[in-house]
Symmetry: C2
Subunit: 195 residues, 2 copies
DNA sequence: ACAGACTATCTATCAAGATAGTTATTGGCA
DNA sequence: TGCCAATAACTATCTTGATAGATAGTCTGT
């Protein structure tokens, strides 16, 4: 159900087409929520049917046309309600840690390789998130600027701070994964040496 | 697909029935992988059909019977192969951080409540994981002792170390979430005060 | 003898997510 | 003018996961 709210979040800034939304899922919100277009288009239609969005067919060139979705009052209310309701925590499901618990089954080389891949993956994530923080701090984030333009000036600092807070949390998470995997390599090495 | 490998991991220690396995998902492995029995029973049957497990009907009381599954050589090989193959990282999907990015939409009280719930949830997790570490360190973990009994003595330290390493990673993750939410509360308070 | 908790298994349905396509138009550039 | 990348949208299938129940036998204690 979070896809629905991720879409409402984006459309709360400005109306967008399904295509534009699916692009967003590859950049901005994409860092906290990802979805392919094959999930987005049907969900948008469902949301329109539920009255959360209003779709408008707009022409695109001589023959082409596209549907731009605008959030309705009901949509805004639904989003606000979701924001005010507690989050349900679903059970842990963490393949990386599941595998780590049985690392003695892997060859030392493969185990090391997986730890390095873990480090590489989270290093990339951390880099992208740090870049986001930089954009937010320097006022060069397009989405944020659009959002701020539609909001009273006194809320600007608060809105920006929450975004930075979010990405800082993600950076910290990535850092923990990196540190953990580094310890993993040390551990693997220590047992590989004294064979 | 990880459910399959979580089951193989458990059955690599000793044969178990579907019921026993589903109990395990509520305790030991349950902390890194959870699944309801309605997923476990069909998966076990599929795995038997695929030759990874061998099921044996064993009587239980006068009329009752249960199926105990034992890992086959093909099952062991499949598990080892999974352990040696790199993990695919799926895209981020993190409702807590998604919500945090739009925290200005929530009432300060609700926002604070969610941060407190986040802290409470991860504090519970951290406690359980720390307890697991304690069990592993003091040799009081039943599953680990069974596994060690079936393994050459020289591997004992390594096997135990990997388990502890896993849970230490989980504890660190939980700690980061707790610290993050604490910062969140500070942030919310700072904006709520100067209204 | 019966209640009640626990063991054991199975089914059905639904939502969510992953994967891999198909179709068609636009707009820039060589 | 023709090619190609980008825009725009849709469809189908499959797997996974979530939720709620149905069924039946066992074991312990009163």
């Amino acid at each position: 159900m979070s896809l629905r709210y991720a879409l409402l979040a984006l459309l709360s800034v400005e109306p967008m087409t399904g295509y534009e939304l699916s692009k967003q899922f590859g950049s901005s919100v994409g860092y906290v929520w990802h979805a392919p277009d094959s999930q987005i288009y049907p969900e948008l239609r469902r949301m329109e049917k539920d009255g959360l969005l209003a779709g408008e067919e707009i022409p695109w060139g001589p023959r082409g046309r596209k549907t731009q979705y605008r959030i309705t009052d009901a949509g805004t209310a639904a989003f606000r309600e979701w924001m005010n309701s507690p989050l349900e925590y679903s059970r842990e499901r963490d393949p990386a840690h599941l595998k780590a618990a049985y690392l003695e089954w892997a060859d030392p080389a493969a185990a090391r390789g997986q730890m390095l891949a873990h480090i590489a993956y989270y290093t990339t994530c951390r880099g992208q998130w740090e870049e986001k923080i930089h954009e937010l701090q320097t006022g060069t984030n397009a989405m944020l600027n659009k959002r701020l333009a539609a909001m009273p000036k006194r809320d600007h600092r608060r809105i920006t701070a929450y975004k930075i807070f979010t990405y800082e949390g993600l950076v910290a998470k990535a850092q923990v994964e990196i540190d953990w995997a580094r310890n993993g390599i040390k551990l693997i090495d220590s047992f590989d040496d004294d064979t």
